[in-house]
Amino acid sequence: MSNLKLKTEGDTHVVVTRRFAAPPEAVYRAHTDPKIVQKWMLGPEGWTMPVCINDAKPGGKIRYEWTNGKGAGFYLTGEFLELQPYNRIVHVERMHLPDPTPDNHVETRFDPEGTGTLMTMRMTLPDAKTRSAMLATGMEQGMEASYVRLEQML
């Protein structure tokens, strides 16, 4: 089952929503406890996160390092700005590839929905160009073009 939704908003925002069966408190903890983060924020199959620093307090540091075990790796650093247990996290992050990408400002909300949680993550990139470059554009018309194209092939 997947109910991930990813859309762009305005020129510089990306909004991701996802529903979870667990209540906001649990989802919030899964984002702020490094031992838990390390278990799921891994991306594609085969990648691990040997270093996971997640100091969930205002001004606290974030550092995630990933490796595919075959010599490829990259890392992310960031800082927490605001935390409101158990419904809101604001942080800033940047990737190091190894050059740092422009800062991505992220607000993550966890709203109760029934017995579960609706997570809404709103990313703000410094400008439209950065968002396009980072998001690889495909999310908008490009993706639509891909899908229309796909429909034609089916």
Binding site: A21, A26, A30, L42, Y86, K129, A136, S146, V148, R149
Partner: protein, 124 residues
Amino acid sequence: MPYIRYYLLMSRTLNLDTAFAAMADPTRRAILARLAKGEATVMELAEPFEMTQPAISQHLKVLEDAGLIVRRIDGTRRPRRLAKAGIEAMDHWLAMLRKALEKNYDRLDEVLAAMEPHKKGKTR
């Protein structure tokens, strides 16, 4: 949380930088969306944009160089259409990206299911 790492990583891995750079422009995205509906000439493509044909031709060249569109010769006409291989490469990439995002949250679903349901948040 940070999704963008996969976009960057994968776009580098798959060498799609040129294609994505080509798509970073709204006019070029609109051209692709138009071509997704079927082939079109430069004149037809220029129409909705209030741009000169040379300006549109410049955008078409960028898209062509990126392998996203191709031209066909039809008498004096040179209609453009989407390039199957280029679009498929992007489809593939987007599918990988989406898979990576979904993978994270599917894993989180499992982690959450394993957490004690009514345990109050422990102090950090």
